[in-house]
């Protein structure tokens, strides 16, 4: 079911092994996602993503620390985690969003797909909502591409 989810993909001219390293190694994660990351590539591992003032977190006054828990880690193929659950609470469908990366080898590279679902679970939490907007993360419901096409076509102009 595509409800409450966002899916995006990109073709990368690199092997799945290389792409895997970029999406799972903490020192790489801090170059494309959060400013700091503590993550282990192992199902069940608990970690944190940190956005710092002046970094990608923008002009916040203090660190924004977001808990994550790895759900699946199948080397070079799948990496998924739940995130944005309340500190100290175990993540589940009611209090966290699920991010799933899938890697597929293609001629000349790797197709990387990211699917984030359960976004409304965190968007409905007031604090999470605020955090989402501060980071310009997300916080919406339903399949993005479909909606975007729909709304853009109806709005009669191309959405940026």
């Amino acid at each position: 079911m595509a409800a409450d989810s966002v899916e995006r993909e990109i073709l990368i001219e690199a092997s799945p092994e290389v792409v895997w390293g970029v999406i799972t190694e903490p020192e790489q994660i801090s170059r494309w996602f959060s400013d700091d990351a503590e993550v282990e590539t192992r199902a069940g591992a608990e970690g944190t993503l940190t956005w710092k003032p002046g970094g990608r977190g923008g002009d916040k006054e203090s660190d924004s620390i977001v808990p994550i828990r790895v759900v699946e880690a199948e080397p070079f193929r799948r990496f998924s985690f739940r995130w944005n659950h309340p500190q100290g609470a175990g993540p589940d469908e009611s209090n966290s969003a699920l991010v799933e990366f899938s890697l597929a080898e293609e001629a000349g590279g790797t197709r990387l797909t990211v699917l984030e679902s359960g976004i409304s679970a965190v968007a409905h939490d007031e604090q999470g909502k605020t955090r989402y907007l501060e980071q310009h993360e997300h916080g919406w419901e339903k399949h993005l591409g479909e909606l975007l096409d729909y709304v853009a076509s109806k709005a009669g102009r191309t959405a940026r």
Binding site: A3, D4, V6, R8, E9, I10, I12, E13, A14, S15, V18, V19, G21, V22, I23, Q28, R31, W32, F33, T110, L112, V114, E116, S120, A123, H124, K129, T130, Y132, L133, H136, E137, H138, G139, W140, E141, K142, L144, G145, L147, L148, Y150, V151, A152, K154, A155, G156, R157, A159, R160
Partner: protein, 115 residues
């Protein structure tokens, strides 16, 4: 953060397939009453009224009274806002994926030189 709650409500409003059909129908016809809309959709008049209330609450449609009936029409400005809010979210993931691509391709290029 009123803006966040507003965006959320907007997204939720457009996310429902029936409400999208209601919007479609309104856009096609210019304006329509609850009864007219229900005739063209596989849902009850009551359901249409509920969907219209949601759309009205987030400012996507507005109703105007004509005699005994209220006719609804789409407010295009709000639809534009919805498009932009969604585009912002899309752009966020696209930017991350673009960074991943750049990083991975530079790692790959270095590995190519080494081997």
């Amino acid at each position: 953060m009123a803006a966040v709650a507003e965006d959320d409500a907007l997204w939720a409003a457009v996310a429902d397939p029936t409400r999208r059909r209601v919007l479609d129908s309104l856009l096609e016809n210019g304006e329509a009453s609850t009864t007219t809309l229900a005739e063209g959709l596989p849902v009850t008049r009551q359901a249409v009224a509920k969907h219209l209330a949601v759309l009205n609450r987030v400012g996507l449609v507005a109703g105007e009274r004509h005699g005994r009936e209220v006719r609804y029409a789409v407010l295009p400005e709000r639809l534009d806002e919805a498009a932009e809010a969604m585009a912002r979210v899309a752009a966020q993931w696209d930017r991350r994926l673009a960074r991943i691509k750049r990083l991975a391709e530079s790692v790959q290029a270095e590995a190519g030189i080494d081997s």
